[in-house]
């Protein structure tokens, strides 16, 4: 199935190949196939598929990946704006209808 794509050229994902140790962890945790291995180094192959979830940065042991992660959720951004906090999921509890 063709992946759904959001706006192009907006995400903050950045990779410093010099720091990559080739552990492949980022390719395992990425839910949108954004990163692949090339010559034993991570490489961003589908940048516009990134949803800035932050899993790659979280699991990169050498700090080669950086991304400003957060909820890609308009309601969350509005809530954050009103409460003067970071964008926060409005969901009081559960459900996958949540960010």
């Amino acid at each position: 199935m063709k992946p759904l794509l959001y706006l192009s050229d907006v995400v903050t994902l950045a990779l410093d190949p010099a720091l990559c140790n080739g552990c492949r962890m980022c390719t395992v945790v990425c839910p949108h196939d954004v990163i692949a291995m090339a010559d034993k180094r991570a490489q961003i192959i589908h940048r516009d598929r990134c949803m800035e979830c932050g899993a790659c940065e979280m699991n990169c042991p050498t700090g080669a990946l950086k991304v400003t992660s957060g909820v890609g959720c308009a309601a969350g951004i509005i809530t954050g704006y009103i409460n003067k906090t970071e964008p926060t999921c409005g969901c009081s509890s559960s459900g996958s209808a949540c960010c």
Binding site: N59, T68, A97
Partner: protein, 349 residues
């Protein structure tokens, strides 16, 4: 649901070196199905929880796998069902009743809670190995190398969906590309609609109240008869705009042009206006029709923009960029629509 009563999914208990561990079944009872239906339809959304801690499934031993989950009961239930025929341990983290992905985003399904839960559950005594299987979507909150450093347990990320666990194990604990990728199929989108429809209820009710009340306004006073006569049609139009944004646009998502959600909602809003006009519901005067065009597209666009939170592929940077452009438009459209609506109201007999 009260968590202090013994829930139906607990079949007994198992003695381990860390004490008694509740033994759960992979079977779903009527109550489990009912509970799932309730949270999906948003009747009983809050406090659908299980107690955090260690559980056993099948007849596990000290070498059996440990599967980590959240204490949202639906997350736990889906894992239980995915483990049918497999013996293992389930370590439930306290995510305050939130599912794995959301909780990982908030950090409650995270490195610290995992490390603490390993300690408090006595897992080190229960199993001899030092391996954990964490659902891949938990990786947003869990740092595998930090968990290893703190607890000595190595994290292996399992598939996104619990239904793939059996295949994941058969493949030597490796996830294939499909198992790792998050989809957003028609069925997955359809499941979200009941909750999302209810989620925006205050926006909907306020918008309904405004147009219904304004329907009765005359230049020289107020008529309740007019409210009754025209308020229903006005309310129906707002409801149609809401439905265009929260039902039609999410269902047709990939088929609607534009990547921005607010534009997708604008498109389905236009479709709603056309459909309503065919049935003469947008009024007979051209001014009123124009007013409904503005109001309905504004509502649909705004509501669909909020669906970014339910989608599985929008980024924070993208949504911010979209909102910067869309919100001024939505406010202008809604205001223009209301003003023209009043003008049309005042000029009609």
């Amino acid at each position: 649901m009260k968590t202090n009563q013994k829930p139906g999914f607990i079949a007994g208990s198992l003695e381990t070196r860390a004490g008694m561990v509740p033994l759960v079944t992979s079977h779903w009872s009527f109550r489990d199905y009912l509970g799932t239906w309730k949270v999906r339809s948003s009747f009983g959304r809050d406090a659908y929880k299980v107690n955090p801690g260690l559980y056993a499934i099948g007849s596990p031993g000290p070498e059996s796998d440990v599967f980590v989950s959240a204490n949202y009961k639906l997350s736990f239930d889906v894992l239980r069902r995915g483990l049918e025929g497999i013996s293992g341990w389930i370590l439930v983290l306290d995510t305050r009743g939130v599912n794995v992905w959301c909780a990982a985003g908030k950090g409650t399904f995270g490195t610290r809670e995992l490390a603490n839960r390993i300690k408090s559950s006595g897992l080190e005594k229960v199993v001899q190995h030092r391996r954990l299987i964490v659902p891949q979507l938990g990786a947003t909150g869990v740092s595998a190398h930090e968990v290893k450093a703190i607890s000595g347990f190595s994290v292996r990320y399992g598939p996104v969906k619990a239904t793939d666990i059996r295949q994941f194990i058969a493949d030597g604990y490796k996830t294939s590309g499909n198992m790792r990728t998050v989809t957003f199929t028609l069925k997955e989108r359809a499941k979200l609609i009941p909750n999302d429809f209810v989620y925006g209820k205050y926006y909907l009710l306020s918008a309904l109240a405004v147009v219904v009340v304004l329907s009765g306004l005359y230049p020289w006073g107020y008529s309740l008869t007019k409210t009754a006569d025209e308020g229903i049609r006005a309310g129906l139009n707002v409801l149609a705009g809401y439905a265009a944004g929260i039902i039609v646009a999410p269902l047709l998502l990939p088929l609607i042009p534009f990547r921005s959600f607010s534009l997708k909602g604008f498109v389905t809003g236009i479709l709603a206006v056309i459909l309503l006009s065919v049935f003469r519901l947008t009024g007979t005067s051209i001014t009123e029709m124009i007013s409904w065009f503005f109001m309905i597209t504004a509502v649909s666009s705004f509501v669909m923009m909020n669906f970014t939170g339910s989608s599985t592929y929008t980024s924070l940077s993208g949504v911010r960029k979209e909102m910067k452009i869309a919100i001024p438009f939505q406010i202008s459209f809604a205001s223009a629509g209301l003003i023209i609506f009043l003008i049309s109201n005042f000029t009609s007999k």
